[in-house]
């Protein structure tokens, strides 16, 4: 208990310092940061949950994208006939399923032919954008879009409600709920316990008679579903139209966010906020200072190194 408190304090402190440095320097708003935090948290959870079962899911990116395709298909099918109360939950389910299916491919390969899931999830990231491109360049292209590869805009019923006049949408609530749920399930339930056993030592799990393959598969499905939910939220809460290049890099940033906090869901909220601040800073730098968009990656790398260094120093001095 003491150890986890100390860890939480350490990463909290590191993140606070970094954020305090960041906010005054560049002109960004908490509002933008919260909007950006949402997909990072969910993509982070997509890494964290499988990671606790000893899996490396680098496929948040692909799961996110495939889910947006499934969500858009659902919108195009039934979007005009159902009202928001039913449509949004339906779209959420579509997103969860889309992500889970995409992760399920890797999961199936892992438990049947023992293909390493890090490899398969990574490679699948290159496939789902092609599927998306096929649809928006082809059957789903909006005739009134001056030939741009975008789908028809989502109907109002398929848009996530926002808070007051801000851009902040319901997604952040869902992200926080998902993180708390993930924490509670992993740390306090029997299933979460078996996941941790499998992640800690699969041979020990096998010897204890646990269904290792099933646990591995389900953990990966859940991860994929969470990335899928991120895709659903991004496309219904921010973009409201399907086009290529939505949320490019979110999956990888989620990966960073999760590793930064050792796959602990609650701390993931903090690291995601930090990374979101940096990411938004990048947009503002590009617009205001005329810097290339890639400069944000330099910034991100610097801050990450700082966070890791500070945390390393703190935990080491405690350990000695």
């Amino acid at each position: 208990m003491k150890k986890s408190l100390r860890r939480a304090a350490a990463s909290g402190l590191a993140i606070l310092i970094a954020t305090l440095v960041l906010f005054p320097i560049v002109d960004i708003t908490v509002e933008d940061c919260l909007v950006r935090t949402t997909p990072f948290v969910l993509c982070g959870l997509a890494v964290a949950v499988p990671a606790r079962a000893g899996l490396v899911n680098i496929g948040g990116e692909g799961q996110f994208t495939f889910a947006m395709v499934v969500v858009t298909a659902t919108v195009l099918l039934v979007g005009d006939t159902i009202d928001a109360f039913l449509l949004l939950p339906l779209l959420a389910v579509a997103g969860l399923l889309g992500g889970a299916v995409w992760a399920g491919i890797a999961g199936l390969l892992r438990v049947t032919v023992k293909l390493n899931e890090a490899l398969s999830t990574l490679l699948l990231n290159f496939v789902s954008p092609l599927i998306l491109a096929y649809f928006v360049f082809g059957p789903w292209r909006d005739r009134s879009s001056f030939n741009l590869p975008v789908s028809k805009p989502y109907p109002d019923a398929a848009q996530l409600p926002t808070f007051g006049l801000t851009q902040v949408h319901l997604g952040i609530v869902l992200a926080v709920v998902a993180a708390v749920l993930a924490w509670a399930v992993l740390d306090f339930t029997r299933w979460g316990f078996t996941v941790r056993v499998v992640g800690g030592n699969p041979e020990a799990a096998r010897r204890a008679g646990l269904p290792v393959n099933r646990i591995v598969f389900v953990a990966l499905l859940i991860g994929g579903a969470l990335a899928g939910l991120a895709g659903m939220i991004e496309v219904t809460g921010v973009e409201r139209v399907l086009r290529p290049n939505i949320g490019v890099g979110f999956g990888y940033i989620g990966f960073l966010a999760s590793w930064l906090v050792g796959h602990r869901p609650l701390e993931l909220l903090a690291s995601s906020f930090l990374l979101a601040s940096i990411s938004v800073t990048g947009d503002s730098l590009q617009i205001n200072a005329g810097l290339p968009s890639t400069s944000v990656y330099v910034l991100m790398a610097v801050v990450l190194l700082l966070v890791l260094a500070i945390r390393g120093l703190i935990t080491r001095s405690k350990a000695d």
């Binding site: 509670a184 306090f188 339930t189 941790r196 056993v197 799990a205 096998r206 204890a208 008679g209």
Partner: protein
């Protein structure tokens, strides 16, 4: 304390420690140890598990730095802060579990250890050097065999040769006889006496009196990190004196155990003509037929790699069989998965719990949940406190004094981990027990307590399949001993009448 004075003009010891102390947390592992290793002598360092022998060896080899005290090499004070430094000073250590790379050949393993290699590997030259040295020290070494294909005894000889070629003049052997069959021990004895005659200083770390008697010129006894007997010729001490020095008390005797007739006719374990494949399609067990009745302890003897591990894994459903049939407590588990076999009522302690059973990051209580004990739930979560109380109430937990429930298992010592595994296996009274080396890593008192627990469970009707590298333990506990050699049962003997030496011959594949 017993001491022997050395002459005033004697040459300085090859390796000497003065007041060497090392503390780990609460544990004073070594307490002001004085030790002198002389060239041309074999010096036994005798003690129970946890007496501080390995800590001392590691200090001499630079694995851990002592807190206090000095080390002298040929009379000069030296600081040994790394194994590299130790090797540079001509000090070598043969680890108990060896440190060879199985996928490489013997030659390649030796190459790795040599300091004077250039970029280009000169295999021919080295092959010759190996052949010369092997002939000189009477070692049987096949330089081009892969390490994974050679026996434990051969691996040990490779380790020894490796140290010799890298210029070691002081050689420490950690529990060198623990993985060897009796005849192989004799061969080792000849090798070390040859080394002694060539002027090396040898230290032999052991907990077996027999090793001291058969191989050593001097003995130092450690108990609780303190020297009890210092550098005495063992011929001058009788067994009782030595044992007293080692354990500091009389040996507790395991009760004799007249076997109770058990009325349940269901066999605890039955294997009918099974073939079991190991890696690369080789047969690890062939045409093996055996049974374990309820209430019976069946010992399995064999030099390591004779199929014991595979038998233990098959009995727990961890490894599939190619042909034949398997039943555990009456249930057909020929195609069994671990969960089914556990469900049928089996439980087991594995050969290497640190690798196959310990889950990093989990506590003692969490490990206990992976057993026959039901993990209690409260509302939606798990009730760890209830489980902890349940564990604390187990007789095994009290007898084996397992560590506090909140401790992380990875922070515990090997003996502690083993006791947790034993307790977890015995919890809930399984009807069939597969015990692979149950007393490995335990000190004497706990080993005896464990043996006692096994007898008690057998008396209560459990069938026990017992693997042990300690023939004494097999003879003490078993109702029957089956001897495995190269994956076949070569004999089934009655420990009441069989001779140890005959069992040793059978283990090595010689006719009894």
């Amino acid at each position: 304390m017993l001491e022997e004075c050395s002459g005033r003009n004697a040459p300085p010891a090859a390796l000497e420690t003065r007041g060497l102390s090392k503390r780990f947390g609460e544990l004073q592992a070594n307490d002001r140890i004085d030790l002198q290793l002389h060239s041309g002598e074999i010096h036994a360092i005798l003690g129970e598990n946890g007496a501080g022998k390995s800590v001392l060896a590691k200090a001499l080899y630079g694995v851990n730095l002592p807190d206090e005290g000095t080390i002298l090499r040929d009379g000069r004070v030296v600081v040994i802060d790394s194994p590299r430094k130790a090797r540079a000073l001509g000090i070598g250590l043969v680890f108990q579990d060896f440190r060879l790379i199985p996928a490489l050949t013997v030659l390649e393993n030796i190459l790795l250890a040599l300091p004077d290699q250039r970029m280009r590997l000169r295999r021919k030259v080295l092959t010759e050097r190996i052949a010369q040295a092997a002939a000189r020290f009477d070692l049987r070494i096949r330089p081009h065999a892969r390490v994974r294909d050679i026996s434990m005894a051969e691996r040990q000889q490779v380790e020894i040769l490796k140290l010799l070629l890298s210029g070691a003049r002081v050689m420490i052997l950690d529990e060198p006889t623990s993985l060897l069959a009796p005849q192989e021990v004799d061969a080792l004895g000849r090798v070390v006496s040859e080394l002694r005659d060539q002027g090396l200083a040898l230290a032999l770390i052991t907990h077996k009196l027999m090793d001291v008697r058969s191989m050593c010129d001097r003995v130092t006894v450690l108990r609780g990190g303190v020297v009890q007997v210092r550098g005495v010729n063992p011929a001058g001490l009788d067994d009782t004196k030595l044992v007293d020095a080692v354990v500091g008390r009389r040996l507790p005797q395991v009760r004799s155990h007249p076997r109770q007739p058990v009325h349940d006719p269901t066999l605890a374990f039955q294997a009918i003509n099974i073939d079991v494949e190991a890696e690369h399609g080789r047969l690890a067990l062939s045409e093996l037929t055996m049974e374990v009745e309820r209430g019976e302890i069946v010992g399995v003897a064999g030099v390591s790699g004779s199929g014991q591990r595979e038998l233990a894994e098959v009995a727990l459903g961890l490894r599939g069989i190619r042909t034949g049939g398997l039943r555990v407590l009456g249930r057909d588990v020929s195609n069994g998965r671990p969960a089914e076999v556990l469900e049928a009522g089996a439980a087991g302690v594995s050969e290497d719990p640190l690798a196959t059973d310990v889950v990093p990051g989990l506590t003692v209580t969490e490990h206990m949940a992976l057993s026959r004990l039901k993990l209690p739930t409260r509302r939606l979560g798990c009730d760890w406190r209830a489980l902890e109380r349940q564990v604390a109430a187990l007789p095994e937990a009290q007898i084996l004094k397992i560590a506090a429930g909140g401790r992380q298992v990875t922070t515990l010592s090997g003996g502690n981990v083993q006791r947790i595994m034993l307790c977890r296996t015995l919890a809930g009274d399984p009807g069939f027990l597969v015990m692979a080396y149950p007393t490995r890593g335990l000190d004497l008192a706990n080993a005896v307590a464990t043996q006692d627990l096994l007898l008690r469970h057998a008396r209560d009707g459990a069938g026990v399949l017992l693997m042990s590298e300690d023939l004494d333990e097999l003879f003490l506990l078993s109702d029957r001993i089956i001897v495995l050699h190269a994956g076949r049962v070569v004999a089934c003997v009655d420990p009441e009448v069989a001779e140890r030496h005959d069992v040793g011959s059978l283990m090595l594949g010689l006719a009894a």
